[in-house]
């Protein structure tokens, strides 16, 4: 414990306490020691002052009303106002699941959950300063931290394991989708076409469903590419190489413009679905390459040992190779999930109303907010930042745990 505050004397090898440094000696040593360091410090400080000079007047005079009055479009798009309660109820399992994940995986997920709680609390606080936010939204953001904590309490119980969290997440996700989509015209929950879904809701839904779909496809494609059956190998190679080479944006336009030409004339495919497929195709190709790296890292001795035990080929893959390969690639997998989350923003370019698309529509569509683009885009960037930062904290947590396991 105390060793951290001691330094080893080079001559005697004894431990002695570090001398207290005054700020001046510290600054001299760290900021001004060779002459060029002093120059760098001055340049850095000037740069910081320059940035502050630009941002502070902007932040003081910012028209945040552009964000607050349009918060409904940013959060749920054009989802019918009468039906918004369905979004609130349908999405409520998400913070709960995040909480259980925190309970089950512990420190790895802690930062993510804490960030979500802080963001929700800040939203509620900021809503106190203006009355433009619907009480329903405020209520939802006020309740969600408790849902996270409730999930944490559940996740801490011994009989809840990773498997329960994953299955629960998947089932709740399906339920949410059905809940948002609705049923017939006359039912209590009338049908809402995906064209009216939007905002952060769509961003998060696409990211989550994408995550759930991309990993299995990636695993299948990686296995096919590694297999010694030439047809599977060639098919997987074509899939991976073509999709990896194509920019997502081109794939997106390809999906929306060209793919209807390949479908029977009677069908009009859902645009959101097509955009989703484009994102999945692109990311699953990258995911396959990540997992292939993991498959190659499994030592040959493992496979030979499993074969010597008399295991079938498929058994060797499923029980011996794949678990080790996936464990080795978890950081890359989480990294790919982060990329997928960021990739969802591209759908704004084909006129879909995700978070970025909603912002775009607000600025271009309403004269009052034509000059509010910095505020709106800063808000959007901040929302993306919160989620991505949370996810990358999970990734660092995983890496830390893996390193601890390797020692």
């Amino acid at each position: 414990m105390a060793v951290e505050n001691m330094t080893e004397s080079t001559t005697t090898g004894e431990l002695r306490p570090v001398e207290e440094q005054s700020f001046v000696t510290w600054a001299k040593a760290n900021l001004f020691s060779p002459w060029y360091n002093a120059v760098l410090t001055v340049i850095g400080v000037v740069l910081i002052l320059f940035l502050l000079k630009g941002t502070i007047p902007f932040l003081l005079g910012a028209q945040w009303a552009a964000v607050t009055t349009n918060i409904q479009i940013m959060l749920v798009g054009q989802y019918p106002t009468d039906e918004i309660w369905r979004v609130g109820v349908g999405v409520a399992p998400m913070p709960f699941i995040a909480g259980t994940a925190w309970g089950v995986w512990g420190s790895m997920m802690r930062t993510f959950s804490v960030i979500l709680i802080v963001a929700a609390v800040l939203t509620v606080i900021s809503s106190l300063f203006g009355d433009s936010m619907t009480p329903g939204f405020v209520l939802w953001f006020a309740v969600s931290p408790f849902l996270i904590l409730l999930g944490y309490a559940v996740g801490r119980r011994d009989f809840i394991g990773p498997r329960h969290v994953l299955i629960g997440w998947f089932l709740f996700l399906l339920l949410t989708l059905f809940f948002l989509r609705g049923f017939g015209e006359d039912s209590a929950m009338p049908y809402v076409p995906t064209a009216r879904w939007g905002g952060l809701l769509v961003t998060i839904l696409i990211a989550q469903v994408g995550i759930a779909v991309v990993l299995p496809i990636g695993i299948i494609m990686a296995l096919a590419r590694q297999s010694n059956l030439w047809f599977f190998k060639i098919a997987a190679m074509a899939y991976i190489e073509v999709l990896r080479a194509t920019p997502l944006l081109a794939l997106l336009f390809l999906m929306l413009i060209v793919s209807p030409m390949f479908l029977p004339d009677v069908t009009t495919p859902d645009r959101l679905m097509l955009a989703f497929i484009a994102i999945v195709l692109n990311n699953s190709a990258y995911m396959a390459e990540n997992i292939r790296g993991g498959l190659q890292s499994v030592s040959k001795g493992q496979i030979e040992a499993a074969q010597a035990l008399g295991m079938r080929g498929s058994h060797v893959t499923m029980v011996v190779v794949l678990p080790q390969a996936i464990r080795a690639t978890i950081p890359a997998i989480v990294g790919q999930f982060i990329i997928l989350f960021k990739d969802t923003a591209v759908i704004a370019l084909v006129g879909l109303m995700d978070l970025l698309g909603a912002a775009y529509a607000i600025i271009l569509g309403q004269d009052a907010w034509r000059t509010a683009d910095p505020e709106v885009f800063l808000f959007v960037a901040a929302v993306y930042w919160i989620f991505t930062y949370g996810m990358s904290s999970v990734s660092t947590g995983v890496e830390k745990r893996m390193r601890a396991g390797a020692d």
Binding site: T41, A250, L263, I363, L378, Y384
Partner: protein
Amino acid sequence: MSSRPPLKLLNYHGVPIWRNVVFIRLVMQALAALFVISIIWLLATNLMNNAEQRGLNLSFKLLSTNAGFDVPYSLIPFDSSKSILYAFFAGVANTLRLVGIAIFTTTILGVLIGLAQLSSNFVISGLGRVYVQTLRNIPLITFAFFLFFGLLRGLPKTSEAWHMPGIGVMSNRGIYLTSVDESSSLVLWLIIVALGIVAAYLLNRMFLKNQGELKLFGIRLNRGFTPIVLLLLVAAIGWIAQPQAPFVFDQPELKGTNFVGGMKLTTEFFAILTALTVYIASYVAEIVRGSVQSVPKGQVEAAEALGLNYWQVTLNVVLPQAARIAVLPMIGQWVNLTKGSALAIVVGYAEVFVVARTAIEKTGMALQIFVMVIAFYMIMGAFFSLLGNWYNRKVQFDGR
């Protein structure tokens, strides 16, 4: 008198056919192939039906018909009477121009920020870290929107253009950089510089002969600096001694409502270049930081134990090893940059994807044009991966 059981059609070497590995593999592949082929066949039939109903022509020969649209900016001369294929290649040229310049600027900015992150000076390293953490955690397109809208509104009129002394001017009509043109005395100056290089080389040879010890008027000459100083001196004399400088700096000047002279970058080009450079530099910075930190500490300590000073350790021990780790991911970022250039569609810089979009809108040949676009990006990707493989083979240790 074989010990094997007799061959039967469905019973090879006594193994029933449904357990025969060769047979199972064959059947599995045949089924998969059948499945894939039938899907492709289904899609192709749909395509044929749709094409017939809507009167679409799916022939690639159509690409040689007149474009009938204009490409706003083109490196290679283009007008609307040229073919669609030609328009496509005008777009390709524009993409290559953008990507070529962006690779250069991104790598420089990224390496600078990566090194800043590693600095022991905490003001500098803090700035570097804030830069990287801010940009890496937002989508490129969100950043691009923020930047494009900001530039669109923020750039001043030509009469109030921002003047950057020595560099150029910025206004909403475009960015005019001071350009460097050759003058009539350039050839002579280059010859003088070449002579300087020869002289520096000979001086270096003399140093080698005398084991690094040379004296001029009793003063010991520095082995590293003297040849460089000699070269610079010769170049400077050659510059000054001639009546006309070898380079002419062409400053943009306001004439009427617009600027004349200098090198013009359109606002669109500037916007997409800035967006790609600033954003992808944050990824390059992380690669630089990671690769430098991954050089084992023992290497640095061993070099210090041999008596090398800080710069010798950095330049001769750390950087070569870090570069070997960094180059492949760096090329990966160049690929990302190439694909990110499709974002130019937001500002309308006429790169290949924008030209393709225009062509599709004007001619309706979506399928043919998309095939071309994907082929282009695949060729670019193949080029970069060849580059990476070549480098990898070059730097790989033997016996690894």
